[in-house]
Symmetry: C2
DNA sequence: GTGCAACATATTTTCGAAATTATAGCGTTT
DNA sequence: AAACGCTATAATTTCGAAAATATGTTGCAC
């Protein structure tokens, strides 16, 4: 074999990451059928390796596995976004509260560092900074830095998965949105509240931040969602007589 | 191929389920190395299929994938159990509150049905009913029925995964425990509070139920946990100089 | 024309061999 | 002895062909 994976990662893990990026960035579009032949070409791996990556993505709810009929990029819907938003509020609030209680000096420093990098990036790229991949990274790191000290690995991991799923929605709307400066001042306010260790204020701010972002997505990209479209999926053999389980 | 999977499931999905059961029931013990050759023999599938199942279990935190050194059953620890318990309280409370607000008659009926089956099973098996596999199923269905009407698929799915992880701990201690009648009256009290739509009481009861179960696990099985044992894992090449990510 | 069976094609899923990587054993040197 | 390099062995990871399944098409009866 000529080229092998660079880091200590496994090849399937590599593909997993690349595919995750492609999904949350909507290169692979919601609802799109994922045919093995084209994926094999795109990522240059074999069937089994692809299958492994797809399985893990299915466990993360970024793709759905349909019986023996292959895989599909997880569809989007307003209902799903609203649900996701509510759960995210629950989890982020809890994580942030714990972090403020337990965070130390290093935690504070990392927040300021991430915030600084976020501001610098805006200045450097200007105007449409939020369309760049670099922005996604540094913005994600900022929000992570806020809750990093919460001391709960289980909570942090759930949060990370929810954040990724929500990022896909943000990305869908980013090309249509205009009023981004507001988000910037919100970020600043959150940092201030956190530094003051003002839990009540910080939680309210982060909740509003999440909910308003979600509302913005619906406002600007809601028209892309296949909400009321008549059932497009082929009916399954058995009419889904699933009991309460 | 002679025998194929029974239902509409895929073969890898089959193995996934069987393996999940074996892990939460501690047939595959915490920390145990999962060698492909023996697994292949046990589950009668090929390497790639196994790999797919293992990958999904890794995404569920029931096994951990170690670079290119294979898979290991996720280890247990008191810290992990406590963490898990806290997050479970957060999630179950939220789900139960929503269910009580939104639940309809069918939901109430399903709760009574599940509770009834749970009681009958005790009467039928008697004494050490809680050691049977059937108990695990009906007990799980009861707790699910309480929150089934919460209306949030995202929350329900998170809850399901946390429940499974916690079940592994319960199972570890079940052989040592004695005072089970207390749990039975707790279940009854929860049902009553839920039927009265008394949110405050129901949330307090479910929280206490979860926390006390967790404490019982630590009391009776804590001695099995490799908490203070000196690092048994072989040191990785790089001394893990991971930054804040 | 509609429904339906039988065949042909396309796609997914599984398998075990082959390549890659880690681990253990052994001799040599300091 | 401990540390290092080397080889041999054992394990995992990847691959693409082959089996199983789903999908599409044609022909025939009604």
């Amino acid at each position: 074999m000529e080229q092998q994976n660079a880091g200590g990662e496994t090849r399937a893990g590599d593909v997993l990451q690349r595919m995750r990026q492609d999904i949350v960035n909507c290169v692979l579009k919601p609802g799109e059928k994922l045919r093995f032949e084209s994926l094999r070409e795109r990522y240059e791996v074999s069937f089994s390796t692809l299958r492994e990556a797809l399985s893990r993505l299915a466990a993360e709810n970024l793709v759905v596995a349909e019986g023996q009929r292959g895989f599909v990029v997880a569809p989007v819907s307003i209902a799903d976004l609203n649900d996701l938003t509510d759960v995210r509020v629950l989890v982020e609030r809890e994580a942030l509260a714990k972090a403020i209680r337990k965070g130390d000096d290093l935690w504070e420093g990392n927040i300021l560092s991430a915030f600084h990098r976020m501001e610098r990036l805006q200045q450097r790229i200007g105007r449409e900074y939020y369309l760049s991949d670099e922005w996604s990274v540094v913005h994600g790191e900022f929000h992570y830095s806020l809750v990093a000290a919460c001391g709960s690995p289980v909570l942090l991991e759930m949060r990370a998965k929810l954040f990724e799923r929500a990022h896909r929605y943000r990305r869908m709307s980013s090309q249509f949105r205009t009023k981004w400066r507001e988000k910037d001042v919100e970020h600043k306010m959150i940092v201030d509240a956190v530094m003051d260790r003002n839990i009540e204020t910080a939680l309210s701010l982060i909740e509003r931040h999440i909910r308003e972002t979600s509302e913005n997505v619906i406002e600007h990209a809601g028209h892309l969602f296949p909400e009321l479209t008549t059932e497009t999926r082929r009916p399954t053999k058995k009419p889904a007589t699933v009991a309460a389980e």
